[in-house]
Symmetry: D2
Subunit: 357 residues, 4 copies
Amino acid sequence: MKRIGFLTSGGDCQALNAAMRGVVKSLLNSDEQVELFGFLNGYQGLIYGNFRMLEGSDFSGILTRGGTILGSSRTPFKTIHEPGEDGVDKVEAMKHTYFKLNLDCLVILGGNGTHKTANLLREEGLNVVTLPKTIDNDLWGTDMTFGFQSAVDIATDVIDKIHTTADSHGRVFIVEVMGHKVGFLTLNAGMASGADIILIPEIPYNLDKVVKAINKRKEKGSKFTIIAVAEGAISKEDAKLSKKAYRKKLERYTHPSVSYRIAEEIEKKTGQEVRVTVPGHMQRGGSPCPYDRVFASRLGAEAGKLILKGEYGFMVGYKNREIVKVPLEDVAGKLKSLSPDADIIKEAKMLGISFGD
Amino acid sequence: MKRIGFLTSGGDCQALNAAMRGVVKSLLNSDEQVELFGFLNGYQGLIYGNFRMLEGSDFSGILTRGGTILGSSRTPFKTIHEPGEDGVDKVEAMKHTYFKLNLDCLVILGGNGTHKTANLLREEGLNVVTLPKTIDNDLWGTDMTFGFQSAVDIATDVIDKIHTTADSHGRVFIVEVMGHKVGFLTLNAGMASGADIILIPEIPYNLDKVVKAINKRKEKGSKFTIIAVAEGAISKEDAKLSKKAYRKKLERYTHPSVSYRIAEEIEKKTGQEVRVTVPGHMQRGGSPCPYDRVFASRLGAEAGKLILKGEYGFMVGYKNREIVKVPLEDVAGKLKSLSPDADIIKEAKMLGISFGD
Amino acid sequence: MKRIGFLTSGGDCQALNAAMRGVVKSLLNSDEQVELFGFLNGYQGLIYGNFRMLEGSDFSGILTRGGTILGSSRTPFKTIHEPGEDGVDKVEAMKHTYFKLNLDCLVILGGNGTHKTANLLREEGLNVVTLPKTIDNDLWGTDMTFGFQSAVDIATDVIDKIHTTADSHGRVFIVEVMGHKVGFLTLNAGMASGADIILIPEIPYNLDKVVKAINKRKEKGSKFTIIAVAEGAISKEDAKLSKKAYRKKLERYTHPSVSYRIAEEIEKKTGQEVRVTVPGHMQRGGSPCPYDRVFASRLGAEAGKLILKGEYGFMVGYKNREIVKVPLEDVAGKLKSLSPDADIIKEAKMLGISFGD
Amino acid sequence: MKRIGFLTSGGDCQALNAAMRGVVKSLLNSDEQVELFGFLNGYQGLIYGNFRMLEGSDFSGILTRGGTILGSSRTPFKTIHEPGEDGVDKVEAMKHTYFKLNLDCLVILGGNGTHKTANLLREEGLNVVTLPKTIDNDLWGTDMTFGFQSAVDIATDVIDKIHTTADSHGRVFIVEVMGHKVGFLTLNAGMASGADIILIPEIPYNLDKVVKAINKRKEKGSKFTIIAVAEGAISKEDAKLSKKAYRKKLERYTHPSVSYRIAEEIEKKTGQEVRVTVPGHMQRGGSPCPYDRVFASRLGAEAGKLILKGEYGFMVGYKNREIVKVPLEDVAGKLKSLSPDADIIKEAKMLGISFGD
């Protein structure tokens, strides 16, 4: 008999349910008896002991369902050692819940922040297996995270739709794509939709180069230009600032989004009308794409296998087309980002895409 | 032999190409010889005599293509009698082009603004047949416009996607839907996606009622609330202001979009986190939905029939499931909007949807 | 207090759940107390008293879900007066269940066959309100049925996909579209996807005319031809046969589908390779399109209103853009089909589409 | 100056245009002058010297377009040394065209058959670079082929749609998925859509095990079962037959498709109604998915790089997440198939999926 807790933490994304279903199906199809505890709304559920017992039927039909049946919330790692609103010691409370319920293991699905806390719990003596969830694909130790390809599909569809109206009206159009501090999502959606210019955090841009690329298109007879801008895109100039100075500079702008600032500058420098679209949270929503469903199911099954073998303290990741276990201490606190020298960047440049560098 | 000019004017939308293809196919399949002139970028092309000759092959494969192969632009009716940038008398220039090319008829695809100018050209003695294009469905004289159902599909898909993340995080989510000054698009997308609250221009909202509806959901155990807000939504209070006073009031806000203002107020009154998504121009882009392809093709075919019979001065519209011809003078300058007493509003209320009234 | 039974009968389609949700939401939002009985698997549930109590939460999140949460089955009207497998008198059994449970009303969702039985129950003294479900759109008394537009979307998408491969390979491609004995679905999907030839039951085809249309395309330089064939399509010759003789003739063919017979004949007469795709049941599956979600919700709300007012014996239909109540005796036993002289047929012909007539 | 010929051969698939666009963009963005020859309809165009000159504008907007702008055809390798219909020596004719046009290189996009011929041309002294196109993903030397993920998406969507109707009616449903002689496509689409049983050529099935899996589901209360069957699926018994004997056995069946034979046997053994859907060619059609657009563009760019460097005789493939060049002689004549011991198979089994073995 094994008693397994589940929680999903951080911003939700596609295939969280698919991944949990994978774990549960592999456990239920084994010879092991299991009891399943679903903690509600991320680490909050673990802290306050809010959970519901889960059964096989809870996982029926959820392979294709977006979001997470357990709810999620952000519990910032920064404040994990600070007392909660009600004075609770969060770490102690989580340990208390875990040991009181006599759990054998926690299955934790989340991104970078979530993994820091998961590793902390491991250090505190809890058995933990994690699964790499994020549309940003910025988790260290795995080539791929689930949610990523689904978000690429959505962002690509947005840019495809913008393409037809940009073409009709001969406009410069900026589509701001999610991705937090890394450019994987923007790069892939931009390449998939034929964006002309792609601005990502890993390659700080020079606005004059961006303007030059727009003008070059005009000279060649292209009436319109599509720019895919990562939400974390930054100019060469700003990249030189300290974090603090940059944050201060941002306060000057009325609009929080980098795309509007870029649009303003392009309008100033070209005299051309620039429109901005920020699809936002929809990139994390809806049914997972088939790739993510298969991928998350596979990771889930392998997580189940680790649990059955009692191998704890790992994230189930994906390296060189193989599913691998990665020690949590190796994952926590690291960020995976795109190398400016990556082949895919070079290929994008060969295709004529400008990165404004 | 007939010499027919085509132009698409105003914001582009789905099925413009499908509609033009419909006209052209019906002309080419008739016994009449035709020459087809495609004016570029809306009335601009007519003013400056920019056109290209079109052939049947130009219309092959465009049934499913978004945008307009002719390009479009806004040529505001307000300034139609003012000289152009280069001092040109726009109306005279359009007449000049028309008569110099010895055209038999102009086929004009557009929305409200476009129809005012089209009617003006009719008054000036030009033969005109128009087709009702707009995602807003706000054209007088027709039950339906092409582009509308495609935009409903897109906006619905956006809200569907937001639904899963709103659910996971227990948030209030606002999705701002296009529609200019009318609520058809928001109402239909909201009903289709199970929005809990729908705010449209035709029913000015009372923010306290909106907050009450959110709280009622919370009391019933619903963690999240989805609000579909039309870009033209207005509060009861603001609806009482003069246009000028309202415009002045808007200047106070840093963010141009009504949704952000509503979000701010809800956060203030409920203490709950509210997120906003503004899908924007993507609602007008991409391949037309099957409904619009059929509808636009049918309208196009009937426009072709009118041209062959030499019946000019009409918009081809749709009334009580029949395609009809509507005199241009009846269409121009009028706005179709949703009646607050319409059956569909009553039905939406029966379903438990709040309009904040 | 009202006690309301629900059942879905016949082949399932999209928006069944949306329609039931509409009824239930409008009942729960009224002042009336209600108890909801869900009969399982169509009339079978009523005959054998298989049901489960339904609550508001059963209808949460099902607006977008395909299929029917109650299950469905075909209970042919032809055999309704014959004893069931276990000797049960079906009509008496249904009455027994209804009166034993002390129901106030049955809400029945179904197509043509279902409506015959629903009307029989009405004649037997049961209170019945029905909703028009079918992808075929062949129900008398309503301009539209839910499921239809969703099926049009799917069939159109299939033909769109076939288009690219037909084009690449220069082939004649037949796509067989559902629709039972009528051509609405095939006509709309065919027009939406730019099919070159459309064969529907209402216009029996002449194979020589079909071949002529293919050859005409070839002469004009079109390498490929797309034919949308309704599953009920019939040749002029076969249309003259008695039903019995036609059925006998069909037995000669090894393949049950009309498309394969047509393909064989075209290959024989043209020497050209013909491929057939039969997408089949997928046309009835998946999430309802936004149009159907709104439409079914509206019909459901109005059905709720009828129930609250105690107006029974009606189908809730749609006529000239208004939702209306249609006496069940007027609906039962009639088939709505497409007139060969309908405007849409004429328009399709203006667009150059051949019907093989 | 380089003179480059292009041809697409074999069954078409998604992203052929995207791949060619990638090659052309990378050539046009280089310092090299190029002339581009597009051979029509596969090797036929090379044999008969049918081509058209291509320009950059031919590749504008085709990233998202399905099919191939050059047309394709099957030119079986088996008969490559036999004279053509008009007595032509095919190999000599291809060489003649190549040398007469003074080409520097041929870019050939195709699958297994295509690569055999491409390698033959290499042996004959032609410079060749190839790109791996097939929805089957059965090309040796590359982990992935373009078209594959797009086909997975389509087949998954079909099974998703079938799911709702199978559920409503409590039926056994078979969906036949393409994939030629290998199971990659069926396995991935089956896992993505939650199929209960997956039958692939690499794991010959035992019908009794299939029936057992269906019955086990029934015992657990699942009314319906979804079976994804690869078009190349084969029973353990038949797998023992010689190719000739198997072909003879197939002749006994009136229906060519393996799914109908399996359906018949299941109906016989379970008494349960079984329905079959064969989506067919639509799996190869329509716009490529974002994954394939990026992947094909990247391969295309790298092919362009090889051409610029004058490195010929390679297929551009993908190994361990890197784009690599694979000698054509290593690719030709080999088939990549799924190992029955692959991790993904084990994981699928952990998830409770039966392979009928």
